[in-house]
Symmetry: C2
Subunit: 398 residues, 2 copies
Amino acid sequence: MKRRSILKKAKRVRILDLVREMGESSRGEIAREFSLDKKAVSLAVDGLLEEGILAVSGYRTSRAGRRRELLSINGRHGISIGIDLGATHVIGVLSDLAGVVLERAFFEVRPGLPMEIILEQMKTIAARLLSSGRAASRVRAVGVCVPGFIKPGEGISLIAENIAGWRDVRIRELFETEFREPVYVDDSSRAFAAAERWLGHGRGQKDFIALDLGYGIGLGIFSAGAPLMGADWRSGEIGHTVVNPDGMPCACGNRGCLETVASGKAIARQAAEGIRAGKSPLLRDLTHGDADAVTAQDVAMAATMADAFSIEVIRAAGVAVGLALANAANILAPSLVVLGGGLVSAGSTLTDTIKEAFHRNCMPGIREQARIAVSALGADASARGIALQALEIVFAGA
Amino acid sequence: MKRRSILKKAKRVRILDLVREMGESSRGEIAREFSLDKKAVSLAVDGLLEEGILAVSGYRTSRAGRRRELLSINGRHGISIGIDLGATHVIGVLSDLAGVVLERAFFEVRPGLPMEIILEQMKTIAARLLSSGRAASRVRAVGVCVPGFIKPGEGISLIAENIAGWRDVRIRELFETEFREPVYVDDSSRAFAAAERWLGHGRGQKDFIALDLGYGIGLGIFSAGAPLMGADWRSGEIGHTVVNPDGMPCACGNRGCLETVASGKAIARQAAEGIRAGKSPLLRDLTHGDADAVTAQDVAMAATMADAFSIEVIRAAGVAVGLALANAANILAPSLVVLGGGLVSAGSTLTDTIKEAFHRNCMPGIREQARIAVSALGADASARGIALQALEIVFAGA
């Protein structure tokens, strides 16, 4: 794609973004906001109205008595599918352009499943959502998010180290062949941040970070209102910041990464060890004595039930996360830190400890401006984010 | 300033930036690069030519036989002053628009000097440069960079914690009153990164980080070709990322910050302790036995002379810096890491250790794409960077 057309698309995306954020907007307001030529804005808006992406939702009369159209997103017009592949789940949503979820589908992914089966699960979910009555034939795009590095442009998932054998998966090609819709691929943590930006705490925030704390740990970053991608779209690997140089070996090959202490994977591993060592009768009972079946969710639950061992594990995780987040905030100076991912909804022991450790380690002058909020978007956040990202890209280029 | 005019200025800055990077550029190339209307570009270029900021440096004949003007920066046209205040120095440069230094001035700042005297030193340097024959009356702007938080818009230096008593200094107001030139104020580490972007390793790099390792430690960040400022321009406080939660108290109020181990200040403190404890006869001799007079430069020099104690101190600093840089790189995914500041030119023990520790702690997949380079811009880098930043702002708005 030529740089020129990318930037033309960027203009359409910015217009859609602004209208979504304001709820309603006039052509004049859009032109002023972006310091764009009124004629250029009107041309772009006419295109978006004609395609049905924007709708005229009302009128406002100016002081001079002129009647101005108010534009808003036509949620109904555009529908997309968002698929979020995690180490333990495949979640799919059917989302409209306003971010409203029309349908949802879910598969559990068990550790060690072969790549082919996981891909089949993903396709099955996409097919089920596509054939839903609510989709009709209005689906315009499919977004797929995966943990780890991707190859921008080609939509290849290079590696997801928490999924055994997952390497160089040509997601865009596979899904475009199967479903004949444009496919957009990005990292799950950036998709989570996009969901927060459009639908959650990130609305109206130019500089914020969104922590995706699940089986792995990632960070989505918005800087000056745009997602920070880094070279080759590799930003956000907070799970591999080193919190203890003498710590345990990590799947990435280094030592003492945050993920060795605070990820769902690490918490479950510590809990299994604890059960075997007889340190937590409660966890043993919760798992019917099968130490290998224990999950981080179990540990979080046991912590809220005052299990001393579980509290200790969760607190250690929270301290490490708070430290890593504070270090990221010292560098990025965000106005908001969103805590999200599967683990943050499992009781407040974890989030309280994260907040304390963040506050203790973040530099004065940075911490006062960095509000911490817990995501309210739930388990579907990344799927919703990638669905909206995919739609934006498609509409930008229509 | 209205958003509209800020963006109009941004267009002029982008044009100047591109022409500087390309060396020479045609109107058509500029329009294509930014996907801007040809007419809009031509209007902006005409303005820049009329003001003498751009010059026609040649012609190129297209395949269709049409002769096209080649535009380049008219270095002679614009001259500015850059003042860099550090904890141990005030450096001033007279720079032209192409970044060529025409004059230089320097004062040592001794720890504990009252703020009023430091300000007088800064003004004296500016006045000396302004009255130089080479400045004639062509100086168009004054840039001032300071370590630490500033108040964007008002040009107030809020706090420079390594300079005793430095609080809420109205730099812009003081200098505009004195010199009747537009004054631009920013953080020194961001000014260093700007110098690298325009004059050093950062040329042509969209995503890079520049470490400013001196008496304090800061990080300048470019993301997608633009400086990352963060909320209220507070980005880049890598010196206060915590490398050891149980470490020493830091001037910022927290514990175990990178600056407590690896800054010029921390290295000098450790060296003074070492001299008193009789651990380094070489350092004692270098300082004539005055432990309090030892500087980080002395330690770096002693390390290159194989002084075991100094090597140990420098290595510990390098390990901590490499870790903090790796953690920043994991989050930002830069294609380049520039090592700069007063300490990196003092022997390779420090830079070699930083590189090793960076490589050990940076995640595979990130470290392969993040080339490390040592700055070649020397002690004047930040002063040159802030001089260019100030000129860009002024020309953008002329």
